[in-house]
């Protein structure tokens, strides 16, 4: 018990890294997912093909391989090592963020595509009838509606990304799992510290789920039951 209390600050620093990695990956992932999902719903087959290949590769292979390919793999090429990007690609932190973002971007694109395709046809027709240009319609109607429909599924993806971020520990990063592993390498208290790591992950995923739920309620305010007349204050 004393060991745990003594090492708790280090584990909390690990928790901050985990949250940082997750949020950065999710943010970059959304930036990739929106164009990918839009292209995926295009009428032209060659526009659909590019995001299809991207989604197929990143959803079909393990995240661990993708991360290793990026972190260890790129150093094989001399031209990358001498390029301007090398200071970023050399850092395990940024390699992890890029790999996570590419991975979650592929999953999010599929979720978002589902959202776009389940928008009632009438709404699209109405937007066209109002004279909206395709760009305006995408911005004002399609994307907001798709996000609303896809939100619960996206919530699952957020939790998966949080759990996936534990893989960063395999490329020397000190997130929750990495910190636990380095502490255990000193004191051999594997059960205690992996257990503590598990508790931290549970707490973070619980907090994430609460935030996602609050946003969901906010997004569907128009569906909430109207306040009862009798509930108004006197």
């Amino acid at each position: 018990m004393d060991d745990i209390i003594e090492r708790l600050p280090e584990m909390l620093i690990g928790a901050v890294t985990t949250i940082e990695l997750t949020l950065l990956a999710l943010a970059f992932g959304i930036c990739l997912a929106v164009p990918a999902a839009l292209a995926r719903t295009s009428r032209l087959w060659w526009v659909r093909a590019v995001p299809y290949a991207y989604i197929f590769v990143f959803r079909g292979s393990p995240l661990l391989v993708q991360m290793f390919l990026l972190y260890y793999g790129l150093s094989q090429f001399e031209w990358i090592r001498s390029s301007m990007l090398w200071p970023i690609l050399r850092e395990p932190y940024w390699c992890a963020v890029i790999a996570f973002a590419l991975n979650t971007g592929a999953y999010t694109a599929e979720i978002l595509r589902g959202g776009i395709q389940s928008i009632p046809k009438g709404e699209i027709e109405a937007a066209k009838a109002c004279g909206m240009s395709p760009a305006l319609m995408t911005r004002r109607i399609v994307l907001p509606r798709a996000f609303r429909i896809a939100w619960p599924a996206y919530g699952n993806e957020v939790i998966f990304m949080l759990k996936g971020s534990a893989l960063a520990s395999t490329i020397t990063l000190l997130d929750i799992t990495g910190m636990a592993r380095s502490i255990i390498a000193e004191n051999y208290l594997s059960l205690e510290f992996f257990g503590l790591a598990g508790v931290l992950y549970l707490l973070i995923s619980w907090a994430f789920m609460r935030i996602l739920k609050i946003v969901e309620i906010h997004l569907s305010a128009h569906l909430a039951p109207p306040p009862l007349a009798s509930a108004t204050p006197e």
């Binding site: 590769v57 079909g60 393990p62 094989q76 799992t177 257990g195 598990g198 992950y201 549970l202 619980w206």
Partner: protein
């Protein structure tokens, strides 16, 4: 053609091991999932509590942590048990067994939710009809409930299997010589990380494609009774 420096057969062996772990973990996970779903639906409070705790905890912590916990944690517990029997050996699970247990635990937690949904989706009237025909409880479960649960749960379980197939790569962290670990070994010899990790990616993609096709066939078989009638 890509030069694999003679590591091709090693990678193939690794891929075979990956499939073995996935199938083992799937078998364990199906049993765990069915059991947990039965506990959730039993309505007996302590059992429901245990099942809920199991699914919540496992689904809330990273798979990698489950693998590490089972692999390194079990060694501590087993050594402790061995000590209490007067032995001072260091006891640990083989990486294969630890990997199957860890991935099976994860698979089971998610599968239990799929099964629970499937059980609830079979109309109660069917069980009542089976009972009215004089089938025993067990008989009705085996003949009426289970085939339908299988049909409804199959797409969900198929997705879980594809996730499981990719999660097998995590066992490499515990030293299990599956595809991922074999690839890393090849990399450390040849110093060609990109080539080998790219080959591994393609092999995982291939396995995903094959499994997707196999699942599609299984789903078609399970849905035979629901095939639209072909009228001339």
């Amino acid at each position: 053609m890509i030069d694999l420096h003679g590591f091709g057969s090693q990678l193939a062996m690794g891929a075979a091991m990956t499939v073995e772990i996935a199938l083992g973990a799937c078998a364990l996970g199906l049993v765990l999932g069915l059991g947990t779903a039965a506990m959730r639906l039993s309505g007996i409070k302590p059992l429901v509590g245990v099942a809920k705790t199991y699914t919540t905890v496992i689904r809330g912590i990273p798979e990698l942590l489950v693998v590490l916990l089972v692999y390194f944690g079990s060694a501590r517990i087993l050594t402790g048990i061995a000590e209490s029997f007067g032995s001072d050996d260091y006891v640990e699970l083989s990486p294969f067994v630890a990997g199957v247990i860890a991935l099976g635990l994860t698979f089971g937690a998610y599968a239990s939710e799929v099964f629970r949904g499937a059980f609830l989706a079979v109309p109660n009237g069917q069980l009542e009809a089976a009972r009215a025909l004089g089938m025993s409880q067990g008989h009705a479960f085996r003949r009426i409930l289970l085939p339908q649960v299988w049909r409804i749960a199959l797409p969900g379980l198929g997705n879980l299997f594809l996730v499981l197939l990719k999660d097998t790569s995590l066992v490499s962290v515990a030293g299990m010589e599956e595809l991922m670990r074999k690839t890393s070994i090849a990399v450390s010899f040849t110093k060609e990380p990109f080539t080998f990790y790219a080959v591994a990616t393609v092999m995982y993609l291939g396995m995903t494609v094959i499994c997707t096709a196999a699942l599609h066939i299984m789903e078609r078989r399970a849905n035979l009774g629901y095939r639209p009638l072909t009228t001339a």
